[in-house]
């Protein structure tokens, strides 16, 4: 778990801008929180009442939506999001072993972020690149045909980069 000294500063002005923009549209909540997440890296719990207010929803409704979807995050995440695929094709071709190695390399469990906020490790049920299994993706860079050597090289490079 990422241990922070103090919650990060949120630019409330910018937040209000985003909320106002979306508030005019229909069914705005999910695209709104997705943009908040794109801007701040996550959805700070503090913004829930603000959003609820502007969209005329109960805070529990907003919270309910945010907590339902796997890709809406309420905690800061690392600079590099590492997603290892656990889809069927990847599983059959050794995806479990790749995940084990990545966990060991990054010293993280699933859904954990490193203390220095450099990496977040997640698994995804399928990346849709099944023909290159086993696969993983770092930010938007897909890495196919993974093997132990590639795992090592990938994170060595990232670390040095």
């Amino acid at each position: 778990m990422a241990k922070l000294k103090a919650p990060p500063e949120i630019d409330l002005e910018r937040l209000n801008e985003i909320v106002s923009e979306h508030a005019r549209k229909r069914w705005a909540l999910i695209p709104l929180v997705q943009e908040v997440q794109a801007e701040f890296g996550f959805i700070p719990p503090r913004v829930v009442p603000i959003i609820a207010n502007k969209l005329h929803l109960f805070p529990s409704e907003v919270q309910g939506v945010v907590s339902f979807y796997e890709q809406l995050y309420t905690e800061p995440r690392g600079r590099n999001i590492v997603r290892v695929c656990r889809g069927t094709a990847c599983h059959v071709r050794g995806g479990k072993a790749i995940l084990k190695l990545v966990k060991r390399q990054l010293e993280l469990e699933e859904n954990e972020t490193s203390e220095d906020l450099e990496y977040t490790l997640e698994t995804v049920a399928c990346l849709g690149v099944c023909a290159l299994s086993p696969t993983m993706v770092i930010n938007n860079q897909v890495c196919g045909h993974m093997n132990p050597k590639k795992v090592k090289e990938l994170f060595k490079r990232e670390g040095e980069g």
Binding site: E70, Q71, V92, A125, C126, V129, G144
Partner: protein, 1028 residues
């Protein structure tokens, strides 16, 4: 020069393999070399990502695979400039190894019929002009200007299109419901939330041909009367989102979307909604909830979305593929579409073929194509020569279909009948090294985590099933688990609200239906037949070895040149290492993990090396001591074959006094009687038996147990238990006219081999026919060669793939001149004057697969033929000979004329009498006989102790002490590991006798590794037993 266009694939797969760099490099290089009339363009996903980055040069259709930026200068100069394609980049057929330059001839593409995928990989998806050129929006134009909405629905109805999202509901019907629903505001939605793991065709279509989907959606809107459309797409597909947004913009600019499209008065706009990571949002009511920014939880239906959907309005939801098909149907006509496929499943179906298959990628075929065509013809069969096990269709909602149903034509109804579903089209191929219990657990873990939690059966049921399956894979299965799973599965299926819950038990149900024995092995024997479940095993080789030899440890001993230690490790579990080192069928090697990298360890050959060394140096080694007799009970073993002698050995080791009764003057059973000298020298057998005798086992030869001295008599003479291991040496009859054993020139193979082995003179003549395809048949044929036959032919009723013999043996037979005639069956043994003159035969063809997955041969009428021969041998199998038991013996027989015996404890119905090996199971492999011997010993021991528990044969590990690493050596080790190469290292060839020399003598054909070779080979072992 003709104008050439180079298409570089820029689908997600190829991009990740470096195709952007290839594209950029090509552009630069062509400019640099100033090659005229060449255009460099990019396309979307071909659906053959494994071979990427893919580059196609039109108009010749040259297909390059695995292209990297470094290859570009060569392509530019040799091909584009000088017209000579670059051969080394051609596609290589995984089965034949042949290079195929033209993509139209590549099996993978040639056997497909790409309708929905027709543009994928052939047009640039970011240039609407190319889509227009290929015909997109022609259908929309036709519909808007020449057809009515009802006419459009009618056309789709005539085409018989069924939804390609998974459920297969007739599309036209859904549209009709929506169109007829009251209200003027309606919606159409494209479901692009392709959540099924293993499916990526929707992604490919969106990245490669987005206009197909846009047009399809617009057509749907026109048909039902909607002016607004949504495309709900998963967030995990960023490239598809990007291309879609661009395509929408370009379509708008061309007046193909928006107000008054093509002056028809039809308004239609499309918005994109991105998902936020929830599999269940692929379900239509959950999807609608998600668009409305609510929690993605399904709701009960009726009302169906066609009546009341998005915002309570009539809504149609169609899958990406369905919409692409709509575009094709309106464009080319319903008749054309419905001419493909079967009666109830019209048109083509798209599959994502992945898993252990050689050609992984997107496959589109007419519905009704047999599964075997898809997997073996188009898919190229299983990688690494492993055996096919099952195909998982339909993602986590689907089921596993085993080999026996491989000929099933793929269509909606057939798949449901087998317990699976068509689903999203995902098709994952599983081979013999896949554990079916683990697969069921895997799918459950997926559906359990994606269950929205709304309804109790799904929420709790998935958790329960997952818990049970996890326990089973960890060796904590209980006898009641299978029943429990079936019960919970039924409840979840019947009580769940949406498709996720209703179908998530399918993987469990189908694996239980077709692979129940795997579950039972995990629960009862704590064994994973595929050697996958880590918690049950120490290393896959040891686990797969029926007798459980600690392979990595003895390989390690060899690597340290401690050959005596290695021999002793083997003998902990197997008293016949020299024999197994020569003839074992080595199941361990098939599971060796090193085999996934380059070549599995030559475990059998290494075992042979160790034992040869042992016997060569026997004078320098302290002789083996007899085991101390610690217990009062005495045991009698009937039969001094591998099973009987193993039982005796292990009993002696446990401290019992044992006597073996053997009818023949020699020990070894089937081994000494049936195995020819050139495969297993008699001397080797005798030495092994000597070893066992030295360990304190008493063997009485020429002491048959029969009507004069029965099993009862044995017990009366003071033996507290009897183990019957009399083997299976009665030859099976073929059952054809003319089959008379006394006929001169007609022999049963087994009898013939025995006669030769004991030195009886046998004349075979010049022309010999051997009927059969197993080890005995091959041995018979090769022996005939050595006795002077000039023309030896084997007639087998199946084909090469079905022959239960190793590659090695087959090759040796061929090298020695044996000819093979496959798919032939004898119908009559022709004789004259009590002498065989030849064989009447008929040709066979392979029919439907039977329950074991093997195709049954059926005779082809009218293909009878006669072959002359001097000698005919029949080797079609063996059976146990129970004739030595008196007819009034209390011992119960099974239906198959063998003894009825408890599978686990090997006990008969008479207390104290046990039986095992070939005698009970029929002919089997030597290592299985040895295992049965050990099992018998353990069972007898339990019997004496009054212990009713099951016999459990676990893998056992000796503690391993870590060697200290000296200071400063760590760096050295690291570097060694770095250099430890990823270059493949194959096992050294085992030396063999030259073919000419072989044909004339009975000398052993296979020789041993040298000491240096053995040590080097043993170092390739990955020491899976040390995995943390």
């Amino acid at each position: 020069m003709d104008r050439q266009t180079v298409f570089v694939c820029q689908g997600t797969g190829c991009l990740s393999s470096g195709s952007q760099a290839v594209y950029d490099a090509l552009k630069l290089e062509v400019e640099k070399l100033e090659i005229p009339c060449v255009k460099i363009d990019f396309t979307g996903c071909h659906g053959f990502c494994e071979q990427g980055p893919i580059v196609i040069v039109e108009p010749r259709g040259i297909f390059y695979t695995r292209v990297q930026a470094e290859d570009v200068p060569e392509i530019a100069e040799a091909h584009l400039q000088n017209g000579t394609p670059v051969q080394r980049l051609f596609y290589r057929d995984p089965v034949s190894g042949k290079a195929i330059p033209h993509y139209r001839e590549v099996n993978f593409y040639q056997k497909q019929q790409r309708v929905i995928l027709q543009n994928c990989g052939h047009i640039n998806p970011e240039k609407i002009e190319q889509a227009l050129e290929s015909g997109r929006y022609g259908a929309l134009k036709k519909a808007l200007l020449k057809m009515t909405p009802a006419g459009v629905i009618d056309e789709i109805k005539k085409a018989g299109l069924r939804g390609r999202g998974g459920a297969g509901f007739p599309t036209a019907l859904k549209w009709e419901f929506c169109s007829n629903a009251p209200g003027s505001k309606k919606y159409v939605i494209c479901n692009a939330d392709e959540g099924d793991p293993g499916a990526f065709m929707d992604r490919s279509i969106l990245e490669a041909d987005p206009h197909a989907v846009i047009e399809g959606l617009a057509l749907a809107g026109y048909a039902v009367g909607a002016d607004e459309g949504y495309i709900y797409i998963r967030a995990e597909y960023p490239l598809a989102v990007k291309r879609l947004r661009l395509a929408l913009k370009q379509a708008g600019e061309k007046g193909l979307l928006g107000e008054n499209i093509l002056d028809s008065g039809f308004n239609f706009t499309i918005k994109i909604k991105e998902g936020a990571g929830s599999f269940v949002c692929g379900e239509e009511t959950a999807l609608i909830a998600s668009i409305e920014s609510r929690r993605g939880m399904p709701r009960p239906r009726p009302p169906f979305p066609a009546q009341s959907g998005l915002d309570g309005r009539p809504t149609v939801i169609n899958n990406v593929k369905s919409l692409a098909a709509v575009s094709a149907i309106i464009g080319r006509g319903a008749e054309w579409f419905s001419s493909m496929g079967t009666e109830k499943s019209k048109g083509t179906v798209v599959f994502a073929l992945t898993g252990k298959v050689a050609n992984s990628g997107l496959v589109e075929v007419p519905a009704g194509t047999p599964l075997s065509t898809i997997v073996f013809d188009i898919g190229g069969g299983i990688q690494r020569g492993k055996k096919f096990k099952a195909v998982q269709t339909g993602g986590p909602s689907g089921g596993c279909i085993p080999a026996q149903h491989m000929d099933t034509p793929v269509e909606f109804e057939n798949l449901s009948r087998l317990g699976s579903i068509m689903g999203s089209g995902g098709m994952v191929v599983l081979d013999e090294s896949t554990c079916m219990v683990e697969i069921a657990r895997y799918f459950l873990s997926f559906t359990q985590s994606e269950s929205c939690g709304k309804c109790t059966p799904c929420r709790l049921g998935t958790r329960q099933m997952l818990e049970i399956l996890t326990r089973i894979t960890q060796g904590r299965g209980r006898d009641s688990d299978i029943e429990a799973l079936l019960n919970i599965a039924k409840t979840v299926k019947e009580g769940s609200l949406c498709g996720l819950g209703q179908t998530c038990p399918n993987p469990v149900l189908t694996t239980l239906q077709y692979f129940r024995e795997e579950y039972e092995a995990h629960i009862k024997e704590k064994k994973c037949p595929a050697a996958v479940c880590d918690a049950l095993m120490i290393s896959p080789c040891q686990h797969t070895c029926p007798v459980g030899i600690d392979v990595p440890r003895y390989l390690d001993a060899i690597s340290r040149e401690e050959f005596l230690e290695a021999a002793e490790i083997i003998r902990e579990r197997n008293p016949f290492p020299a024999i197994c080192g020569r003839i074992c069928h080595h199941p361990c090697e098939l599971r060796c993990r090193r085999g996934e990298l380059d070549d599995s360890l030559a475990i059998r050959a290494l075992k042979r090396f160790v034992t040869d060394w042992y016997f060569d140096n026997i004078d320098k080694i302290p002789p083996p001591e007899p085991f101390t007799v610690l217990k009062p009970q005495k045991v009698a073993v009937v039969g001094a074959g591998p099973c009987g002698l193993s039982c005796a050995y292990f009993l002696a080791r446990m401290g019992y006094s044992v006597t073996v009764f053997e009818a023949l003057p020699v020990g070894g059973g089937m081994l000494s009687v049936a195995l020819p000298e050139f495969r297993l020298p008699d001397q080797v057998i005798q030495k092994e038996i000597e070893y066992i005798k030295k360990r304190g086992v008493e063997i009485k030869y020429n002491s048959p147990v029969n009507i004069n001295f029965t099993v009862d008599d044995l017990k009366k003479s003071g033996y507290d238990a009897v183990f019957i291991a009399a083997g299976a040496q009665k030859s099976q009859q073929i059952g054809i006219p003319g089959e008379v054993e006394d006929l001169e020139g007609f022999y049963y193979g087994l009898r013939f081999l025995r006669d030769v082995k004991i030195g009886k003179p046998v004349r075979v003549g010049k022309k010999v026919i051997v009927i059969g395809g197993g080890n005995v048949a091959l041995d018979t044929a090769r022996t005939a060669v050595r006795l002077g036959a000039e023309d030896v032919e084997i007639f087998y009723r199946r084909n090469r793939e079905e022959m239960p013999v190793s590659e090695l043996e087959y090759e040796e037979a061929v090298t020695e001149g044996v000819r093979f005639n496959f798919l032939v069956s004898p119908t009559r043994i022709v004789s004259s004057n009590w002498k065989a003159t030849g064989l009447q035969c008929i040709k066979m063809e392979l029919g439907e697969p039977g329950k074991d997955g093997r195709r049954r041969p059926i005779p082809l009428a009218g293909t009878e033929f006669f072959v002359e021969a001097d000698a005919v041998f029949a080797s079609v199998g063996q059976a146990p000979d129970l004739s030595f038991l008196p007819p009034d013996s209390a011992l119960e027989r099974s239906r198959l004329e063998t003894l009825a015996v408890d599978e686990n404890r090997l006990s008969t119905n008479v207390s104290g009498v046990f039986a095992g090996g070939d005698f009970v199971t029929g002919p089997g492999m030597v290592i299985e006989a040895i295992t049965a011997g050990r099992r018998g010993a353990l069972a007898i021991d339990k019997h004496f102790k009054g212990d009713p528990a099951r016999v459990l044969i676990y893998d056992q590990r000796k503690d391993v002490l870590p060697l200290g690493i000296a200071e400063g050596e760590e760096e050295h080790l690291d570097r060694e590991l770095e250099e430890e190469t990823w270059k493949p290292q194959y096992r050294p060839q085992v030396p063999r006798l030259q073919a000419e020399e072989r044909k004339r003598s009975f000398k052993e054909t296979e020789l041993s590794y040298s000491g240096a070779e053995a040590v080097q080979e043993s170092k390739r072992c990955l020491r899976c037993d040390l995995e943390i």
